[in-house]
């Protein structure tokens, strides 16, 4: 596991220039590790995160790798160490950009935050609970046709909330393979 700290300059993550600098460092690290990666962004050591910085670090980072048309690379993110006050800022920017992400809580459980519709959330929960699954598992569990379930999982994949492998899917956050870890030391 490669562990990289990208923000030691400031004690709090505030202002757009700071957020842009942190995001650029993360992107630089991601550029070095190939076209497919799972990255943990750890906020445990971050004091304050304001809306502007959250927009630069979280929303603009996700927007680089999430696209319903043609995501340029296959990078997945898990966010850890998000406090209540971080959550205020992060949820606001996710809502503004119609984004969602996976956060891993202290007890190890993962959950989706941001803008996700009810069926997408159900599908993600099923895949997460199973550890891995295919469209048939989702179709059976929530009463969709196989085609509809496949389309939904494809959408979740394009949003980088599930990882596609062979002919199945793994929920981001439930993967056991060691991820690339990026710690925001503020």
């Amino acid at each position: 596991m490669l562990r990289k700290s990208v923000c030691e300059l400031y004690s709090n993550l505030v202002t757009r220039p700071t957020g842009a600098a942190v995001r650029c460092e993360i992107e630089h690290e991601l550029d070095r590790i190939g076209d497919r990666a799972l990255t943990v962004i750890d906020f445990s050591h971050v004091g304050l995160l304001d809306f502007s910085c959250a927009d630069e670090i979280v929303a603009k980072l996700l927007l680089q790798y999430v696209s319903l048309d043609a995501p340029r690379r296959e990078v997945y993110f898990v966010f850890r160490g998000i406090s209540d006050s971080h959550m205020d800022a992060i949820e606001a920017v996710l809502e503004r950009h119609n984004l969602a992400l996976v956060t891993q809580q202290a007890d190890g459980m993962s959950r989706l935050i941001g803008i996700v519709d009810v069926d997408e959330r159900k599908a993600w929960d099923i895949i997460s609970r199973l550890g891995a699954g295919a469209s048939g598992d989702v179709a059976t569990a929530i009463g969709l046709s196989d085609d509809a379930a496949e389309r939904m999982l494809d959408t979740l994949w394009r949003r980088r909330l599930v990882i596609r492998y062979d002919d199945g899917y793994v929920a981001v956050g439930s993967v056991t393979a060691p991820p690339q870890e990026t710690r925001l030391d503020a």
Binding site: S11, D50, D88, H97
Partner: protein
């Protein structure tokens, strides 16, 4: 010609309008003397607005300092004179504060670049917990949100004003209503381009039939408009509005000739949502007021 500007005894956001009523009609290069000799009290808004006033003048103004020793000491403790000395010719005796006197939440602080915002956030976090939780009986989770709001308001200067401004934070007893409830007040004042000119600088901006400072404030504060095309912009003020609403607070922003207010749900303030046709003052002057929780 020199004009004396009389400063009211109690200097806060409302009474500062009396100052602007006197200054606004004067040519920018006319010498003014700002007479605070009889001042008895000043809010963070009053102090930061006095500095922005000096910045807005082409001719360096004179400031007659308060005669009352306790007032002068308090203004010193707020670091007002430290900054005022660079903008005004000070006349009168300035009483220095003792080094140990540190009841101030955030002294008057200059904001002109992103690092200044970091400095403010770092400094206030050390003091905010005690002031907000112990003195104002607020839930502990307010501290981070309060600092987030402060950060966003300060960033408006860096991002939009086009020149430096000022921030100050203090707790005091609110005497207007409800017989002396405590409040914490953030004031951020700059003499920059203001909300209207900022929006006008947006690419492709088209003037509406009615276009003035009041509408620019409504567009920005109530509808999240920004001069940037980036859809992520405008979230800071939206976040501040949510914060103020969650804590029964009040947000008021003055720019140009108008002042907009996001009013508290409670009955501790009787302001109007929008004031227009005020005396012109450049830039933006922001005040956030959060009241003590009464159980």
């Amino acid at each position: 010609m020199t004009t004396i500007i009389n400063v009211p005894h109690s200097l806060e956001d409302k009474s500062f309008e009396q100052v602007l009523d006197q200054v606004a009609p004067l040519p920018l290069d006319e010498k003014i003397i700002v007479d605070t000799r009889h001042a008895r009290w000043a809010s963070p808004y009053g102090l930061t607005a006095l500095l922005a006033l000096a910045q807005s003048r082409a001719e360096r103004p004179v400031l007659y300092v308060p005669e009352a020793e306790n007032v002068s000491t308090y203004w010193s403790r707020m670091d007002f004179f430290k900054h005022a000395a660079e903008l005004y010719d000070l006349q009168g005796k300035v009483t220095r504060a003792k080094a140990a006197e540190t009841s101030v939440l955030l002294e008057v602080t200059s904001i002109s670049k992103s690092d200044d915002v970091h400095g403010v956030v770092d400094r206030i976090q050390q003091r905010a917990q005690d002031a907000l939780v112990k003195n104002l009986n607020l839930d502990a989770k307010i501290t981070m949100r309060f600092t987030m709001a402060l950060s966003e308001i300060c960033q408006n200067i860096v991002e939009h004003a086009g020149r430096g401004g000022w921030v100050a934070v203090q707790t005091y007893t609110w005497r207007i209503r409800l017989g002396g409830r405590k409040v914490v007040v953030i004031a951020v004042c700059d003499p920059g381009i203001g909300f209207r000119e900022s929006l006008e600088s947006a690419p492709g901006f088209q003037r509406k039939d009615r276009w003035d400072d009041g509408l620019a404030l409504e567009e920005t504060v109530m509808r999240g408009a920004s001069r940037f095309r980036d859809p992520g912009r405008g979230q800071g003020l939206a976040g501040v509005r949510r914060f103020v609403g969650n804590w029964d607070g009040k947000l008021s922003i003055r720019s140009g000739t108008a002042r907009i207010a996001v009013l508290p749900k409670g009955d501790w303030d009787e302001d109007e949502p929008l004031h227009e046709n005020l005396a012109y003052f450049p830039g933006a002057q922001v005040q956030i007021t959060i009241p003590e929780r009464v159980t």
